[in-house]
Symmetry: C2
Subunit: 149 residues, 2 copies
């Protein structure tokens, strides 16, 4: 059977953890989890967005997102309203307070990212990211079943 620490999922997990370990202290300083930070950044990039679409871009499952939004709302970092055309849909946007928080966190975050790139090699990092995207794309369909038509 495949050697254990050589498995692909393990290698991805370990690499990701090594990267996140660099960022976590900075986020923690501002009482943010990694997921909360992902959400704030995603919201900062748009005017407004519904919950389903946010789940897609922030790569979070619905239930996790619901809980986190509840907290971010309570902290005043985001604003929620209901879509007037479809009452099922919740529209989200970032609050001024949220924007301010992002401005506080982002510089250090960027510096860390730059340090990682510098140490690993900017070109290699770029190549790695391409390979990761390709891997994801290549696993899009069913794996063991032939995709006909």
């Amino acid at each position: 059977m495949r050697g254990f620490s050589q498995s692909l999922p393990m290698a991805l997990l370990r690499a990701r953890e090594a990267v996140m370990r660099q960022f976590r202290p900075n986020l923690r300083k501002h009482d943010l989890t990694e997921q909360q930070w992902r959400i704030l950044r995603a919201l900062a990039a748009v005017e407004a967005i519904d919950v389903t679409e946010l789940a897609r871009v922030a790569f979070l499952l619905g239930p996790s997102l619901s809980r986190i939004l509840r907290d971010l709302d309570a902290r005043g970092l985001i604003e929620r309203q209901t879509d007037t055309n479809d009452l099922r849909r919740g529209l989200l946007s970032i609050s001024p307070k949220g924007l301010k928080l992002i401005a506080q966190v982002a510089p250090t975050s960027e510096a860390i990212y730059a340090a990682i790139a510098a140490r690993y090699g900017v070109r290699r990092l770029d190549e790695l990211q391409k390979m990761l995207v390709d891997l994801e794309a290549s696993l899009a369909g069913d794996l063991l079943v032939a995709e006909r038509e």
Copy 2:
């Protein structure tokens, strides 16, 4: 600020999720989580191992491991005993039932792995793994502080 879906942590997360999505159904069929499976495989590779060392090789934090071991023990998949030389230390090994379960799960798991490698390219996959290990290694020390001496 850095584009969001281009961030390295996100790319690693998405790639890993794409890979794990392939394995999860097979594990679930045998009522195993990904972490439980990691532990069983690690135990199958050795005679006995203490909890701390298992946490290291299975890349799990102590508290997670404690909980999972409790469950695996209750299911009769592992065996526990105390180190006679150091009563703080718990020694773990896999049970016959655990070995049997591995034998049931492993073939499909191997087939899925082979299918991933075939689709992405065996050589490329190997290269990717090397790059991931390198990334992890390059982030071992402190990032923003110069390592003197």
